[in-house]
Each structure stands twice: as structure tokens, then as C-alpha cells.
Symmetry: C2
Subunit: 393 residues, 2 copies
């Protein structure tokens, strides 16, 4: 770890501690909501204890998608302790998801794990967690990941192995080349070229489109000046007119683009089916696919789904989504938010089941607090370490 | 264990040994197909070794379904050894499935597990096993169960726990009251009453119908002379005319019957949908549901599916079928063949996910060779033992 990074970490951990609790020695707020009280209670070793703290992920670059820019992402880190083992989890809250540090902390304070005798009661525990509120999928995910990490550690195996999968010959993850505009709103081509060059250690580039035709096409032609790596597109619902969407997809197909995420608004299912029938490229549901119950409704309208742990409440529901999508012959990818290596490593457990992976969330941040899934020559690599295979840095 | 049962066991084990190998000390034939050669090879402890032997399950009662009777069922018992652990499995071959001891042994001799470095490579191993032939689902299942038992033991946990489920408050299994006819082909009512009394330790009775109207209705009225326990019906495709099937179901619904399996021939999907729309009772697919790929095709035509390990190739595919059926809001049950407590305990891992269970295969045989899932007051009980939780008797 570089000394700069170490400094960042120290600083962010200290900030997080100050934000969460008065005593920096107690980094994690207990689920009772009152950390002072919880100290006098000493939960038996056979009881699960959930703790959590806020963390601010700082991005290497300002991140722009159609409509917004930001340089940090609020995160809440979770831990579940049980019988001397600790499972780690995480909620990431990009603003468009509608969650905040406050909403996640509020949710986690309501989670009472003391009513369960074993972390292996995953179905019961996570059904209960899901029932607490209607939304808060990222907060739910933070419990789910920590619980999986814990149970995997109790079994001494990583989840890719428990699920009978492999860590050999995994696919590449893409790197995202973000939009860059000059102050007058036109494309900042030198900046795009520079960003593209930074992704050349990867084998696959993701580009977020859905802006004006000029900006969208300019992004692709500028990237193509630098590299002929395969590209996939996330249009973020940006092409509401199906004829235009089809023209754009045909134009992109001639420029080494191999897949399109969410070209049209998520509720336009008939139009999505129309487009899919005509598209030369596979079309994946992103915003249209949040949870397990969405999968069967998307069958026929999309070629496949993009699963994101923060949207589907975590690894358990994601595992079910994989089963259902496969049974419906739908193609599979996983994506992420800006996340530390904790949530990214949780998602990477699924890598062997995917056709595409967009798991560069940890690569995009400057102050990661975990080591875990590593990208080597652009490929996802997973070690044979229990749970989600992470260690705090 | 009663001394009678012990004698049965001794005798059957000796017979099995004599059938499988010349030297009774070596009960299991190695996968090389030549047990003499395999003795000089000593496989490293990190290689999986598959062994198997035939076994004849003797039934407590002659077993009659529409069209055939029998008093024994051929079985092949399997073991996979690895790093000092042993996983147990089983293939059961009732004649109507089209497998025999010879076909299963032939299949198992072709299974080469030495090419895999770890039993945790379940997806790869079982995809390979499935690819060896088109059918042989029971033989495939015998490998699948042994592999699950082995991996569960390596993780130190039962599969119901690994899958995040529970062993608390499990459902009842039914007991089957088989058909009994007098030599002139009419219903043997005293025998039916006697058989019914033997099931009174259970909470649910299964009756196989699909004979003449007189015999079918006679079975139910005779059973109702003895008990008002809830009944479910397996019609074994016996009512090919949908109007008749509906009349029978309406008649049965008035007599405490709560569910019907496979009233009509399995290929008649439109008729099944017609019947389902009108039936006062839920209708489950049995013969119509063999493997994972069948599930989505049955959606709409049946209320749910009956999963049987011997038909779907084992626990891994059954686990997927559960996910898909749930996502399609289909109801779930599991059934079995005549099986020892080995395969029955494998199926019982799923008990918490089912609405009905027909897992009395081990109760029907006189010479069980494993202890495992127990029925207590009619309810399935599962201990917290690794793998499928069985021990050889």
C-alpha cells in the first residue's frame, strides 16, 4: 500500500470514527443505537452483533452520467460478529438510488439480529430484514453481505466454492470511461482520450451514453482514436424514442460495441421488446431490473439482466436471480455502484456465472478500505478465502 | 434396530457383496471397472474416488400402482471418498423409469472423477456427469447426492443449513396406502383397511388412483371408513379424459382430499390448463415434471411441481427447480422412489421449502442400510449433521 493511500485511509477512518461515535476506539455503532449502553451489555458469543459506521468513498475522477456529477459517494460499512468471527458488509448510496447515510443508519438501527440463534438462518433473517421497510435495498444489502461473509467464514469456504462454481478463467471486468465536458457543454476530447488511456489495463470498456447525439457519437469516436478494445454501452434510459435508439445501436454495432444496457426508459417494456427484435446487439435491463420479481417480467423484452447487489438487497437474492434468468435463457451481467473492495468482492463471487462484469467500483475510488477481488490484466481474480474473501486494510 | 432387521441387513449386505465383487471385504467396485487392478493403484488423498455396489431394497408390502406390482426395488449405492471424508449416494431404479442395476453400474463405470481437483467444482463435475448420456437420471443422481454429502462434510454443515434454510417446524410427510386387489380384480377392502391403519402414525395419506372409477372411489371410501386424515392423490396420468378428471376431482374434494398429482397424461398440457382453471383442488405435475427445463413450460398448466431427485439428476438441479418454481409462484412438493434413508435424507434437506412431501420411501422398505431423516409423529425431522446427515447402519 502506498504511503499516500495509507494516509488517506487513516484520515478517512478517523473521520468516520468521529462521525459515528465519540470514542474513536469504538469505531462501530452497535445496533442498539446507543453505543454507551451497549458497552455495559456483553452479548454472549452465540449472539450476532451488528455494527456499522459511515464512510466516504473519494473517487479518483469526478464522475458524470447524464444529468449529474460527483466526486464522493457515501457508504456505510457493516460488521456482524458471532462466535469470534466477523463478517463484513457495505451499503453504497449514490444519490440517484434515494438512500443516504442517514437513511441507511436509521434502517440498520432497526435491525434486531438478537432474535435469531444462528447466522445460518439466512432465509429467515433476510426475509425479516427485507420486511422492515419497502425500499432501503442498499441497507438490506449491507446486512446480507456481512451475513454471507460470516457464514462463509464459519464454513471455511468462499461463496463461489459453496455454490459449486469456480475461480478459474474468470471474465474481464470493464473499466468505465466517464463523460467529460468543457465548461461550454461540449465534449472534452483531450480529457476523454486521457481517461481512455487509463483504462488500457482492462480488456473491455464501458461508456455511459444517453446524451445528445453529438456528445454520444463524439465519445465513441474519441475513444476509438485511442483503442479498439470492445466497448459496451450503458445508455441509462437516455434514448426514449425507439427508432432513434435502434439507429444509435446500429451505428454503435459498426464501431466494435458489443452490448447495450438500458437504451430506453425502464417502464417502456413493449418498446424494449420492439427494439430487441431488431437490434444487432444484445440489450440488457439495468434500471428495469431491480429485484428477483422483475426478472420474469423482463423475459422477452430484454436479452438479459444486469444484477446489482445494492439494488436487489444482496447476494441471496442475486443468487436466485441468476437461477431464474438462466432458466429463462436470459444473459447475465453484474454491475456495481461506487463501492469498496468489500461489496465488489461479494459481487465477484458470481463472476463465473456472468457474460459481462462491470465491477470496477473499487478501482474508481482512491481510498479503498479492504483488499479482496483483484483485477489482473483486466480479468477478475478471486482467491480461495472464506466468505467474500476480504480483509480490512 | 430389531434383530430381525439386523438379520435382513446382514443378509442383504452379503448378497450385495457377492453380486458386486468376489472378495466380500471389498464391498465397493471401483470406478475403473476392475476392482483387482484398482487395489494396486493407491489414489492420492486429494483425488476423488467413486465406488458403488448394487443393493436390493425389499418392500414391507407388495407395491401396486396402475399396471404393475412388485416387492423389491433395485438400488445402487455410491460413495465418493476424498481427503479421508466419504460422501454417500444412491440410485433407485423402479422399473418404470427405464433404468436397471446394469445400466446404472455401466454409467457409473464411465464417470471419471480423477480429472477434477476438488469436489467443490460441483457445477463442472455435474455438468460433465450429465453430458455422459442423455438419460440415466438415477445414476447421475447417485453421483450428485454423494458429492453433496461429501462437500457438506468438508464444510461441516448440513445442506439445509448451507442453503440458509431451517430444520425447525418441518412439514409432515405422507404415507402411501397402496392399491390391493383380490385375485378376481376387485378391491381388497380388508387389506386396504389394514394398510390404512398402518399409516395412522402419519398426518397425511397419499393414495394412488387412476384405475376404474369403481376401484378409485372404493379406495377412498374404504380409507374414509378408517380415518379422516387429509389425503392427497397421485393419479399417475390415469384420467385421460378431462371432463372425467374434473368430475373425479370434484368428488374427491368433498371427501377431504387436498391435492391431486398428475390427473392426466403428461403431454396433454392444454387439457391440464383447462382442468386447472376449473379444479377445486391444486394440481401438481409429476410425470410431466422431470427436470429443470420442464418447470417453465408447466407454468400456467399446473399449480405446482413434484420434484424427485431420481428424475431430475439430484440435489443441485432440484435446488434450481425450487428457485424457478418459486419465482413463477408455483407450489412445491417432493416425492421419492423406493429409496433407503440415504436418498430420502438428501430430499429431506429441502423440506422447509415444500408445501407437501412424499418422502416415505425408506419407511416402505424392510432393509434400510442408513440412518438419517426420521419421521416423528408424521413430521420430517432433520438433525444438524453435515452433508445429507446419514450414517451407514
Amino acid at each position: 500500500m502506498s504511503s499516500t493511500r495509507r494516509d488517506f485511509l487513516k484520515r478517512s477512518m478517523a473521520l468516520a470514527a468521529a462521525a459515528a461515535v465519540t470514542n474513536p476506539a469504538d469505531l462501530f455503532a452497535r445496533q442498539t443505537g446507543n453505543i454507551f449502553k451497549s458497552k455495559s451489555k456483553s452479548p454472549g458469543p452465540d449472539k450476532m452483533v451488528l455494527t456499522f459506521k459511515p464512510f466516504e468513498a473519494r473517487m479518483k475522477h469526478v464522475f458524470t452520467i447524464s444529468g449529474s456529477s460527483r466526486s464522493t459517494t457515501p457508504i456505510v460499512l457493516t460488521q456482524i460478529s458471532y462466535q469470534g468471527y466477523t463478517g463484513y458488509g457495505e451499503a453504497s448510496m449514490p444519490p440517484y438510488l434515494g438512500e443516504s447515510t442517514a437513511s441507511v443508519m436509521d434502517f440498520l438501527r432497526r435491525v434486531d439480529l438478537s432474535q435469531f440463534s444462528s447466522p445460518f438462518q439466512m432465509e429467515e433473517i433476510l426475509t425479516y430484514v427485507d420486511s422492515i421497510t419497502t425500499n432501503n435495498t442498499a441497507a438490506k444489502c449491507a446486512v446480507d453481505i456481512a451475513l454471507h461473509d460470516l457464514c462463509g467464514k464459519l464454513m471455511g469456504q468462499p461463496w463461489w466454492k459453496i455454490w459449486g462454481w469456480t475461480n478459474q478463467d474468470l471474465i474481464s471486468t470493464c473499466a468505465t470511461v466517464g463523460l467529460a465536458l468543457t465548461p461550454d457543454g461540449s465534449l472534452d476530447k483531450p480529457k476523454i482520450r486521457e481517461k481512455t488511456k487509463e483504462t488500457l489495463e482492462f480488456n473491455l470498456i464501458k461508456v455511459k451514453l444517453g446524451n445528445s447525439e453529438e456528445v454520444d457519437k463524439g465519445m465513441i469516436t474519441t475513444i476509438r482514436e485511442v483503442t479498439d478494445l470492445p466497448i459496451f454501452i450503458d445508455a441509462n434510459q437516455g434514448w426514449p424514442e425507439k427508432g432513434y435508439a435502434l439507429e444509435m445501436i446500429e451505428w454503435l454495432a459498426e464501431r466494435g460495441v458489443e452490448m447495450i444496457e438500458q437504451p430506453m426508459p425502464r417502464l417502456l417494456l413493449d418498446e424494449a421488446a420492439w427494439l430487441r427484435d431488431r437490434s444487432p446487439l444484445p440489450i440488457m435491463a439495468d434500471e428495469a431490473c431491480q429485484r428477483l420479481s422483475d426478472v420474469r417480467n423482463l423475459h422477452g423484452a430484454y436479452d438479459g439482466i444486469n444484477i446489482k447487489l445494492m439494488k436487489c438487497t444482496g447476494m441471496r437474492e442475486a443468487r436466485e436471480m441468476i437461477s431464474v434468468a438462466k432458466a429463462l435463457n436470459m444473459r447475465l451481467m453484474m454491475g456495481c455502484m461506487t463501492e469498496t473492495s468489500c461489496a465488489i468482492s461479494a459481487a465477484a463471487q458470481f463472476a463465473s456465472q456472468l457474460e459481462w462484469a462491470d465491477l470496477d467500483g473499487n478501482w474508481l475510488i482512491a481510498n479503498d478500505v479492504f483488499s479482496g477481488m483483484k483485477v489482473v490484466d483486466g480479468y477478475i481474480t478471486l482467491e480461495d478465502k472464506p466468505g467474500i474473501g476480504v480483509e480490512p486494510l
